[in-house]
């Protein structure tokens, strides 16, 4: 079954916002990779906030895609924030250790205030 993730890119001050719509699975890889590339092509990206849908289903394949993005951001010295996760997936992300590389926030406003 074909899966498509629509990803909206925008800026809030010096923070690049990546809003990923839909479920996050291994099939999300080309969309997320392309969005990350497009963000960097805009230049001067030192802070990135990744926003998920509250109802998104995220499996281990999707987390693996995010880990690959974290590998790039670490190499590029970019600060990463994550928001929009359900309580369950906040727990999953903490369990896996993503919080060692990205801060998780409850809301976009909180994330933007903390990352500025």
């Amino acid at each position: 079954m074909e899966q498509i993730n629509e990803i909206k890119l925008e800026r809030q001050n010096d923070i690049a916002l990546m809003h990923i719509q839909g479920d996050i699975t291994a099939q999300s890889e080309p969309f997320i990779n392309q969005a990350y590339q497009d963000l960097n092509d805009q230049g001067d990206v030192s802070k990135i906030l990744i926003q998920f849908d509250q109802e998104a289903y995220i499996n281990s394949g999707g987390i693996a895609v995010l880990i690959q993005i974290l590998a790039h951001t670490q190499k590029n010295n970019q600060k990463i924030g994550i928001s929009g996760l359900s309580e369950h997936f906040k727990k999953i992300f903490r369990m896996v250790g993503i919080t060692k590389f990205a801060n998780i926030y409850d809301r976009i406003e909180e994330a933007v205030a903390a990352m500025e």
């Binding site: 079954m1 899966q3 699975t25 291994a26 099939q27 289903y57 499996n59 281990s60 394949g61 987390i63 693996a64 895609v65 880990i67 690959q68 974290l70 590998a71 670490q74 359900s86 309580e87 369950h88 999953i92 369990m95 896996v96 250790g97 993503i98 060692k100 590389f101």
Partner: protein
């Protein structure tokens, strides 16, 4: 009297008409599977219109058998090895566990564990083979909820204890391989066993809170 070449050629059109009018046409994939099965069967039928109706009914029963209640406490879901179909087992197990009183947070744990077990079964156990199946059996006990996920593979030889996210982010090891770890963290008990006669089963248990 066997159908002539004209009747056989007309069959896909008549099938489509009957399927559409009787709501058998659910998804395109469903339609294609039914159509290919029906063409094979129709070639050996004697009477045209009557046999078409019988074929559709029997195929509906076959499709419906893929999700069934074995008894009042046991549900079985038979999935194709197709990414995305693990969602059926997820939602089915969630609904069943909710009936038994499993709390919301644990239902979310259950859904993720079932999803990961099914994905492992499809990708590693069945190696993505489209003809291989994943059998998910759910049992609602008095004090626990059990789910077993069976594939047609040989099983795993290495059981993950912990994962090292730093190594994965540093690209010193692959970013995947998180499924078994998540299952172990999210359920109360898990076993990995070979099946007599072939196959591998993951058995998971979540305890109901008092």
């Amino acid at each position: 009297m066997s159908p002539g070449p004209l009747a056989f050629h007309l069959f896909p059109f008549t099938f489509h008409l009957i399927a559409r009018n009787t709501n058998y046409l659910t998804t395109r994939n469903h339609y294609n599977i039914l159509l290919s099965n029906s063409l094979t069967t129709f070639a050996y039928c004697a009477d045209g219109w009557t046999e078409i109706y019988i074929i559709l009914r029997s195929l509906e029963a076959e499709v419906n058998e893929k999700i069934k209640m074995l008894d009042e406490r046991t549900v079985e879901v038979n999935l194709p090895t197709v990414n995305g179909y693990e969602r059926i087992a997820m939602e089915c197990s969630a609904s069943f566990a909710k009936i038994g009183g499993l709390v919301k947070e644990r239902i979310e744990d259950l859904k993720t564990a079932v999803s990961e077990a099914c994905l492992n079964a499809m990708e590693h156990g069945n190696r993505g083979r489209p003809d291989a199946r994943v059998l998910v059996t759910m049992y609602l006990g008095d004090k626990d909820f059990k789910v077993s996920v069976t594939d047609e593979g040989d099983g795993i030889s290495i059981f993950p204890q912990q994962i090292d996210i730093k190594r994965k982010v540093a690209r010193l090891e692959p970013p995947n391989g998180l499924g078994l770890f998540l299952i172990q963290q999210l359920v109360d008990q898990v076993e990995f066993n070979k099946v007599n006669g072939g196959g591998h089963v993951v058995k998971m248990v979540l305890k109901m809170e008092d």
